[in-house]
Symmetry: C2
Subunit: 310 residues, 2 copies
Amino acid sequence: MSTLIVVGSLGLDTLETPFDRAERVLGGSAAYFALAAKLYTDVGIVAVVGDDFPEAHVDLLAGKGIDLSGLQREPGETFFWAGRYHYDMNARDTLETRLGVFADFRPTLPDSYRDAPYVFLANILPSLQISVQEQVRRPRLVVLDSMNLWIETQKDRLIEAMRRSNVMTINDEEARQYAGTFSLRAAARTIMEQGPRAVIIKKGEHGVILISEQGVFGAPALLLEDVKDPTGAGDSFAGGFLGYLSETGDTSFTGVKRALIHGTAVASFTVEALGAERLATLTREEVEARYSEFIEFTSFEAASISAAVG
Amino acid sequence: MSTLIVVGSLGLDTLETPFDRAERVLGGSAAYFALAAKLYTDVGIVAVVGDDFPEAHVDLLAGKGIDLSGLQREPGETFFWAGRYHYDMNARDTLETRLGVFADFRPTLPDSYRDAPYVFLANILPSLQISVQEQVRRPRLVVLDSMNLWIETQKDRLIEAMRRSNVMTINDEEARQYAGTFSLRAAARTIMEQGPRAVIIKKGEHGVILISEQGVFGAPALLLEDVKDPTGAGDSFAGGFLGYLSETGDTSFTGVKRALIHGTAVASFTVEALGAERLATLTREEVEARYSEFIEFTSFEAASISAAVG
């Protein structure tokens, strides 16, 4: 039995940055999430791939001990995405999207997944997220991710998915769009009226904000020397976050805050290399070191360091 | 003698936001800076106004105890700026700028300013910043602010001003522009090669980053219920920052970090009302309360709060 399950995409990505390029590498929200979460806990994937999905990618995931019993294989092409990042890593262009077998994806949970206490519904069609919510029996924590496309085209279904979720993750612009307000506090309240008891607002290189019934919490992103490729940052953040929560079982406000910093630490590695390359070799010890680095990066009431700047 | 002096603009601002409008209100970097810094220490202004500058604005500043012996009054029009903010408060349009007497501004420091240990060079023409650097005798800390316009048109003079400064404040996009790199760490190093021993990168609603020889520090902005008008946020941040440093004299890494949070706290009030309205009534006690709020907003290793989110 997996402690944590994720439903999302598994895909092949062709990535272009000003510095680098990679063709048909392992991608998709479920891949990034599971690689991150597996640093903490047992995780099972619910996703679909076509018959062109390289066995090497399956081996990588299986070799990590990620449960693939919910992986469906269908005749046809695997979900494909090609994107280009600019010098300003905050903007990207989608060059091509081919849904392939993902177009007819109907998530079916193996029985061994249905008692999973922790569930991540990555950013896919809300009706598919709902179908997973209907299949899990008594989850302790359901985290929902979504995006502008579903806010614009599937708002009713999205709200239904929100009603059955405990935590929602969403980026700042999309939270504002959903609620029709510039105030992130007000936007989070609007989201929480639908069901979630906490909202995690993702701001990319600017960090994350947690707004919950217990209070608010802000965490900057770590200041990296270089960002090579932001692909997968949000999903590996979610993987570190939910992985840590599943491991500790501590869903107190403080526990959730610590989990957010774990997510931040994991995501900081993801963006330092192309695709899921870095995530594939990442160790828990490296994440812990970066967690400590984060504490140092944000502490200001520690003992005085006497070196002068003046 | 003033402990802290600021050279910058005093002006009249006409401000439009989606919610509000104000005509010819007190504006300018020196006004925002001084009102903020005066919460902590004695501050003197070096600036110029025309004969249309309302006596009420002078009275407000003088009534706070701000030293105006460096305020020059010239025949002609006061610097005027009209700007419009959009629903997205991160973007603004300049509708009109009239330099007026500011076009011929030659900062002249009264003798009582020349021994000031703390100096803020607000964002004006680099040659004017240099002229102030030449007039102060033995400052302990000189903080320089600048912007894209001077990077593009006055880079040599700007570098000369940087050579004579201890700390530079600059926004994230401008730091990247100055150094020609996306990496803020690398950009800060490029700036520090010219003289400053620390760089404060301002990210507006996303907070600030400090990069110094002693280390790096990141602070999110406080999560406000509503942002009414971002005008003056950067200058009142600088005022809180340098005001606190002048008061404590603690320029250790920890002292500088605390000063940054004071700047953050002061700026958070500024943006909650139109123009300098809120700053004009702000008390030190209110700032201290928000400093405590900031600690709570960013702490994650405190004792566990057991209320569950799940």
